[in-house]
Amino acid sequence: MKVVVASGKGGTGKTSVAVNLALSVGADQVLDCDVEEPNVHIFLKPEAIESHPVELLVPRIIEERCTYCRRCAEFCQYNALFVAGETAMVFPELCHSCGGCKLVCPEEAIEEVPREIGKIFKGQADGVELVYGELNIGEPLAVPIISKVKEQAKEEGLVILDAPPGSACPVVEAVHGSDFCLLVTEPTPFGLHDLEVATEVVKQLGVPLGVVVNFAGIGDRGVYEFCEEQGIPVLMEIPFDRRIAELYSRGVPFTEEMTEWRARFQALLETMEGLAK
């Protein structure tokens, strides 16, 4: 079973829920899909980490053959090629690696070369395998790295994915194909607004969902009212507790010290298994 933990709003506790769930139920694997700002490794502290580059194929212009006909530049939907006079330039960071420029070039003057945009890492932590990705600084495209992290997913067993914040394409890439989505929110107007957009994305993808309310006790009742109207189950509430916040700040999963929470996460998994069917 694949469970993805997502949120809409950042900083609501996705990583904390993903890590504590994984440790409490003995998950087989955690995939950190927040490749812009991965944090799971801070809590799981994996060992024996191996890393692999993530490369995209980008065009290189073979100057001797190029006739500066501009067809590649006119074709490219991402403005990654520029041709003027007798100059042809590639802006590799804009390239989505569709391969179209090479196909439209009548002179066979374009070849494709690999270019690193990030890395993926794999390591072991307390019996859990952790895979995470890291987008190189200055690179805009997170999706190809998320997709590489997801390629490492185990076929069998329990896999927990930690999604990036927001409601745009990186979230779609992370959530797509999961058996259940846990949306972590906070009971405030910001939490509610972003829960609404995240819910729309998850519903579009046809993934069953439930909500975890973190920092329960602050704010207002808007999130609960929304869940009731939409028929979305609130599966867990984690109170606003300075002790949890303090453990988090030191990179300690709170279930390590507040062991009574392990049974609650185990029950949460059972409920999700029931709802995913």
Binding site: E37, C98, G138, P165, G166, V172, V197, Q204, L205
Partner: protein
């Protein structure tokens, strides 16, 4: 006109809370919400929308089943695995046009896709530019650029001397788009190991694009050891620290009331610290 982007790397550290307070304290500024896929600034500034723009993202391929000869070439050429059973999955189509130009039966249309809306609004503190990305759509970087262009135009029309940009989390395409041509970027960090990790990546991003960093620690009293580490790091690296804001329950109460905390409870500890941070930032920018 100067531009300041409030950024964080990690989400949920208080970018919008700080931006909204700066908006309330500013005298002649335009506000741009560039967190277009989880925007929140409007919840505190309560904008009245004056103009709405449709935002067209990348186009999308659509196969006409009447013309399709089921040769399968499109599926072979698509690198995004967006075509299955002679149908294009709009979620995975990146609008590259490869299938469209290579289809021997000319059976694939290339159609516009409305990916969201941009708005120009008026608030009680000044003009505002914001947007809403349709959930699940791509191209949030392009929408960020549109929001920023609208904000710059508003600033020129209203002779404003500052554009305050509420940035997105992360370091990818929307964050990069929120940083072009800005004077400086204020990073709001929380004193947690995750916050420090993400802060360092955000700082590298600023260095990469040659943007001057300013720093503000939010909820600094949650872990003073980590706050000391951040302060020390800033001193070593010559980064200006504009302020440390304490944890203060009034911030959430203000949010529930739909107000910046400096307006809702000007005497609260967080408000005092944010006013000081604004004074420092203002001096730094010379506005």
């Amino acid at each position: 006109m100067k531009q300041l982007t409030i950024l964080s790397g990690k989400g949920g550290t208080g970018k919008t809370t700080i931006t909204a307070c700066f908006a309330a304290l500013s005298e002649n500024a335009v506000f741009a919400d560039c967190d277009v896929d989880a925007s929140n600034l409007h919840l505190l500034l309560n904008p009245e929308v004056k103009e709405t723009f449709e935002f067209k993202g990348l186009k999308q391929a659509v196969i006409d089943p009447e013309k399709c000869t089921r040769c399968g070439l499109c599926m072979e050429l698509c690198r995004f695995d967006a075509i299955e059973e002679y149908r294009v999955d709009p979620i995975h189509c990146e609008g590259c046009k490869v299938c469209v130009v290579n289809c021997p039966a000319e059976a694939i249309d290339f159609v516009d896709r409305i990916c969201g809306h941009a708005y120009i609004s008026e608030t009680r503190y000044g003009p505002m530019s914001h947007a809403r990305l349709t959930p699940g759509m791509e191209n949030s970087g392009k929408l960020v650029t549109l929001v920023r262009q609208n904000a710059q135009r508003l600033a020129e029309e209203n002779s404003c001397d500052l554009v305050l940009v509420d940035g997105p989390p992360g370091i990818g395409c929307p964050a990069i788009a929120s940083l072009s041509n800005v004077e400086a970027s204020l990073i709001v960090v929380e004193p947690t190991l995750s916050g420090i990790h993400d802060l360092k990546r955000a700082l590298e991003l600023l260095r990469h694009f040659e943007v001057e960093p300013l720093m503000c620690v939010n909820k600094y009293d949650l872990n003073t050891d980590n706050t000391d580490e951040i302060t020390g790091f800033c001193e070593e690296n010559g980064i200006a620290m504009v302020g440390c804001v304490p944890f203060d329950p009034e911030v959430t109460k203000a949010m529930v009331k739909g107000q910046p905390v400096v307006e809702y409870r000007p005497g609260s500890p967080a408000s005092a610290a944010i006013r000081k941070a604004w004074a420092e930032t203002r001096t730094y920018l010379g506005v």
